[in-house]
Symmetry: C2
Subunit: 342 residues, 2 copies
DNA sequence: ATGAAAGCGCTAACAG
DNA sequence: CTGTTAGCGCTTTCAT
């Protein structure tokens, strides 16, 4: 293991002052002789000199590092978001500190502090628990000494930049599409109890029904957490109804439903139609591929970075910005067009 | 956006010296009066004081931060590894800087520098390209001023701690199991061209055949990259052989194969038996679940952290440590027992 | 064309 | 019980 070599040491070896070395190594406009420039660079390279960004941040008061907190890096959607965001940050010379909370507000708070303390210039926050009453997190966020951008999910009523897809619209689009294909008995499987996004998707579902005068039937609304086993459990009841179609409001929920369908030997869309929510995992496997509401993580990342960029450049407005993105309905083959009406 | 508040400011407000405040806020054993302690803590809290870890690292010469480089955070296996490792680090008070390279040696090098420069105390490296001839990366790794642990994959011949599952053994176990179940014509689908892990798994496959005197038939060995579409393509040829079983040597490879099987209306294990490699994704969906070689990312994380810990504590030996873990064969339901022999 | 000096926010002796 | 001092590695102004 080599030793850490410092600017001073390089300076000594070259026989110049640290300032000169600093100037040259940072390619600053300055009048150091071509000869010495070369020498400095050569010595630095030979010694495997790596500038101490820590020291540098301290004096420059910026680290060119951003932080990201996701509830669970093992979820495909967040992993993909993290990947996109990192790429985007790197393009602008920022490193991204990706962290994964356990999904609790406590963890979020802890990680947030960790990041701030480590001198990130800004933080992207995908909160784990939108309904947390933990005032500590809200407090922390609103007193942050650096810009924060909430991504995908938001704590309501918190003055802070936000970038997310329109979940209500997603629920609406999915349901609307099923209606247009002739479905009248449409079940939905949502996480409305514990998730704000779930509630919004449910609201969209109901709006679509209401809009065409279809009844909102509580017996067709099913609850599931964002985990496959939970959806698998709930699906039995869903499939016991007379619904001809179901709106599965998350990727994992769709997977649980699919597993149950597969097990019961039911086929899609022959026996039942399904609209899923950004379900890249299942798409790979299933034939026909699933018609779904898609939220491109790359787009989310792009806008999130945009907000952050503005703030970092001091071009952010006084008020928080709120970016709402339209999801897309991607029609594939999991919905049957019904010609007869019920 | 609140301002950053410093120790000095707190000290001023309290009317004590920065050192006293530092002592108290770090809970150091010292003789500050109970009264003043309380006062300091109260003022710090009221002002949302967050210690500047950057400044602290500079003087303490450690950041209690570790770095992780994975080729692709969007891969389930790496995401899971990252998740486990982060949890493990956090348990010991370390933050983990997760970064995702594009899979090239250039990126690895760049990220490695980024991490070192930002003062991580050590780095976990899952290299993107094991066959890179880029001497720059090897050079960099061997001149690192901090401990490095290579995880899951390794650049051969590099003196550096390594922790990984025994890929050769995995290939062997999978094939051996198929043989024991009565299979004689066993195809394999591996990434031997571009991946060292692939080569080792192939070697294990061949060893198992050789061991029982079965011929090694090049017409049963198929090449696929670690991507679903690649495996999907390759699978057509695999299924055109007279093989009764196939060893799919990675999760994505198994998924591509499954997709093709599903499309052709072939069933598992009725038409063909499959042994897969740590395939949590497909498991969720398929009935029967896939018999597979499993590499627990949590175990990998645990050992990697162990190595790192030792180095950080200065308890590492002079020579690099190499930990090789045994994968496990998890028998589920995708292999048919053949009673007649061919 | 180059160097000296100050200081970023913090900690660690040591001196009161 | 508490304050002073020095210094971590770097950048930056200002002298020379």
């Amino acid at each position: 293991m080599a030793n850490k070599v410092t600017l001073k040491q390089i300076a000594q070896e070259v026989g110049l002052s640290p300032s000169s070395v600093s100037l040259v190594l940072n390619n600053r406009p300055c009048r150091i002789s071509e000869e010495n420039r070369k020498l400095i660079k050569e010595v630095a390279a030979r010694n495997h000199y790596v500038p101490n960004q820590i020291a540098r941040s301290l004096v420059m008061r910026e680290s060119r590092t951003l932080g990201l907190i996701v509830p669970n890096i093992e979820s495909r959607f967040f992993a993909s978001l993290a990947g996109s965001l990192e790429k985007r940050c790197r393009e602008d010379g920022y490193a991204l500190f990706i962290t994964s909370s356990g999904g609790s507000a406590d963890d979020d708070l802890e990680l947030l502090r960790q990041l701030v303390t480590r001198g990130v210039d800004g933080v992207f926050l995908v909160v784990g628990d939108e309904f947390s009453d933990d005032r500590a997190l809200r407090e922390e966020v609103s007193h942050l000494p650096i810009p924060a951008v909430m991504v995908d999910r938001a704590i309501e009523g918190l003055e802070c930049d936000k970038v997310m897809f329109d979940h209500e619209m997603g629920g609406y689009m999915a349901t609307r599409y099923l209606i247009e294909q002739g479905h009248r008995r449409i079940a939905c499987l949502v996480n409305a109890r514990r998730s704000n996004t779930g509630r919004k998707r449910l609201a969209g579902y109901e709006r679509a029904l209401r809009e065409v005068g279809l009844p909102i039937d509580a017996r067709l609304e099913f609850e599931s957490e964002y985990y496959i086993p939970s959806a698998y459990e709930a699906s039995e009841a869903v499939l016991a109804t007379d619904a001809t179609a179901v709106f599965a409001s998350s990727d994992n929920i769709a997977l649980g439903l699919l597993k149950r369908l597969h097990e019961m030997g039911k086929s899609i869309p022959g026996d039942i139609s399904v609209v899923s929510y950004d379900n890249s995992a299942a798409d790979v496997l299933f034939e026909p591929a699933l018609t779904a509401i898609e939220q491109d993580p790359g787009v989310l990342a792009e806008h999130a970075f945009g907000c952050m960029s503005k703030r970092l450049a001091g071009r952010g407005g006084r008020r928080a910005e709120e970016v709402v993105l339209e999801p897309a309905l991607i029609v594939k083959g999991s919905v049957l067009e019904l010609t007869e009406c019920s």
